[in-house]
């Protein structure tokens, strides 16, 4: 950072100028590539469905309408799926972050007898796992299949997050804990009153990781709960729409063509327009949140990466 500031002040050769210009152009290009698909989808989602089939929509809707959204919000199945998505994100994140922080606290205590054992037991699972089928059978044995809790319990603690939080707590000055112990604080008090409040930056980081994971997850719905529509989530509903339109390969799907042939009435949706609206709906919450947590997760990631 400092270096850049220093360099800016100095004389610049022609070579430097060319390098900088090319670099800036490349970075702008990168931004376009990153943003365009999303902006295009946004435009399609606000465009009249049958009109979208004609193509030629880039960054701005041609025939503006909010009907695609009205349709999505009007379907009780999708609304319900949205509620399940929110529930699993809120409950899953809350529980997971709390439990992760608690275990991280115990293995950050150098004097804890089981410290090594617990740490190794967790870290080993990063490299060893039973795989899909044994896990599936276990879930069946535990009767978790077909319940909401299968979204929460199997992924309760992530090892990477655990290590990130542990490293953070180990970085806190030990004297704070010592003086609290002298004042008679037990482990619970130390955890709730000292470790948790001081951990807020790293808690924010892993909350983001877990929340994004929970919100974006579709595979467990597909694997365990595909026969239970009342437990479906937004991502899974979107995935089903995507698979249907992939089945017939061109962009102009049969359903699209049918809808456009039917035609003139304004209140028509096509798989493409529904997909666009749903893509925006599931992405907007995340896109609105992550920039504000940027400095935390950058720190958290490097902390976990360096010490993990």
């Amino acid at each position: 950072m400092n270096l850049l500031k220093k360099l800016t002040g100095k004389r610049r050769s022609v070579d430097d100028l060319i390098f900088d210009s090319v670099n800036v152009v490349l970075m702008l290009l990168l931004c376009v590539v990153m943003l365009y698909p999303m902006l295009n989808t946004l435009a399609v989602s606000f465009n009249e469905a049958t009109d979208s089939v004609r193509g030629g929509i880039y960054l701005w809707p041609r025939e503006f309408t909010t009907y695609n959204y009205a349709h999505v919000f009007g379907e009780s199945q999708l609304l319900h799926a949205g509620m399940i998505s929110v529930l699993r994100t809120v409950i899953g994140t809350g529980l997971s972050v709390f439990c992760t922080a608690m275990v991280a606290y115990t293995i950050s205590r150098q004097y804890f007898v089981m410290r090594k054992f617990v740490t190794i037991a967790f870290v080993l699972t990063m490299y060893l796992n039973g795989g899909l089928i044994p896990t599936y059978l276990l879930m069946r044995e535990l009767s978790l299949i077909g319940t909401f809790w299968i979204y929460i319990i199997p992924g309760l603690i992530g090892v990477f997050n655990l290590i990130v939080v542990r490293s953070f707590i180990e970085g806190l000055p030990e004297t704070i804990f010592e003086s609290a112990r002298i004042d008679g604080a037990g482990e619970f008090t130390q955890f709730f009153r000292i470790a948790l409040p001081l951990c807020l930056p790293v808690i924010a980081t892993i909350s983001l990781f877990v929340a994004v994971f929970q919100w974006n997850q579709w595979f467990d719905v597909f694997l365990y709960n595909s026969s239970r529509p009342e437990l479906s989530t937004l991502q899974y509903e979107l995935m089903k729409i995507l698979q249907n339109s992939n089945a017939s390969m061109t962009s102009r799907t049969a359903a699209d063509a049918f809808a456009s042939a039917q035609g003139q009435s304004q209140n028509v949706v096509t798989p493409t327009s529904i997909r666009a609206a749903m893509t925006i709906i599931v992405s907007v919450p995340i896109i609105c949140v992550y920039p504000f947590l940027q400095k935390y997760f950058v720190k958290g990631l490097t902390l976990g990466g360096v010490k993990g």
Binding site: K10, C31, M102, F188, W218, L238
Partner: protein
């Protein structure tokens, strides 16, 4: 009165059990003292055992003719039959080829693009611009693969896809290409999608490594008349070497982990011969066809090979005197 050098009583709390081999009683005593800490971690150790270690027992299925209706202890043993079937099945080798190819492409592309992006970002002079580019580049990482796959398939679609529009307008191709319908393109599409989704995210760690480099080196190089490229080549890249090696080792451990979601979501009957990887193979045989034993055998193969790769990469790094994982 002589002052005897009596050993000062050390608080038992500050010792780890290793240092005092006097054994079990001490351990029990400490457990009693630290019952609160135990209370805070033991429930999760039990959770870990059930959800992460019990499935390992399921590996026995690979050596049985597993029938789901029977209890797990009353299955018929089948020896290496399922592994033999796997290694004589031509489809399995196709799947293996796809897995390795996509993994390798993702690995190389992922490393090169993330390192390049980190270097270019570091060379930006305007800090606000740098921050904006970074924020935008992280965005796709937070989108789900469902969304990303939808965007990819729309971008590549025949009539409305921007890639085909650009290519036909520039006259590079005469007819729009059905990208996802041609198997040979699939690996490249997965590689490109993966880069699109993760390049910004992966560059974070390299950027952090660059900021650790001593700025005096750059100043000295500048006084000596080193050009920008020379500075990047002789200072920035060597400065990232440790991080690059560590990440390379970690990623080699995941060489059979070519990703699942992207392939599964972008797969269709036309590109399936190139899209099916080990994970999809396991899913198809295990869940869809109910052949649990064969699917588990394939899963074991994957874990074991990953382990071998991880340890070999680690020991090679050790021999070369590089940083290593363990």
């Amino acid at each position: 009165m002589s002052i005897q050098q009596t050993p000062t009583p050390i608080e038992p709390k500050q010792l780890t059990p290793k240092q005092k081999p006097t054994g079990f009683m001490l351990f029990v005593q400490k457990c009693k003292e630290q019952k609160v800490l135990l209370l805070m971690s033991l429930p999760f150790l039990i959770w870990l055992f059930i959800f992460r270690y019990v499935p390992l027992y399921g590996w026995t299925m690979a050596f049985q003719d597993f029938r789901p209706a029977r209890p797990i202890l009353e299955q018929d043993w089948a020896g290496w039959k399922h592994f033999e079937f796997l290694f004589t099945d031509p489809r399995f080798f196709e799947v293996l080829r796809n897995t390795l190819a996509m993994s390798f492409i993702n690995l190389v592309l992922g490393f090169v693009t993330a390192i390049t992006l980190a270097i270019l970002l570091n060379e930006l002079r305007n800090l606000t611009f740098k921050r904006v580019v970074q924020t935008i580049s992280y965005m796709p990482h937070f989108l789900s693969w469902v969304v990303a796959a939808g965007l990819v398939s729309y971008t590549l679609s025949l009539e409305n896809g921007i890639i085909n529009i650009i290519l036909t307008n520039l006259g590079i191709v005469k007819e729009p290409i059905l990208w996802l319908g041609i198997g040979e393109y699939f690996w490249g599409i997965i590689g490109a999608s993966d880069v699109w989704k993760n390049v910004g995210w992966n560059s974070i760690i390299y950027l952090a490594a660059i900021t650790m480099i001593d700025t005096e080196q750059y100043e000295a190089a500048e006084i000596d008349g080193a050009s920008r490229f020379q500075r990047i080549w002789y200072i920035t890249i060597p400065g990232m070497k440790t991080v690059i090696v560590i990440l390379l080792i970690m990623n080699l451990g995941y060489i059979l982990e070519s990703g699942f979601e992207a392939q599964y979501l972008l797969m269709n009957p036309m590109n399936m011969d190139y899209a099916e990887n080990l994970d999809i193979f396991v899913l198809r045989y295990g869940i869809s066809m109910g052949n649990f034993s064969l699917a588990t055998a394939a899963g074991i193969f994957k874990t074991v090979v990953s382990f071998i790769f991880l340890f070999s990469a680690n020991s090679i790094a050790k021999r070369l005197g590089e940083a290593r994982l363990f």
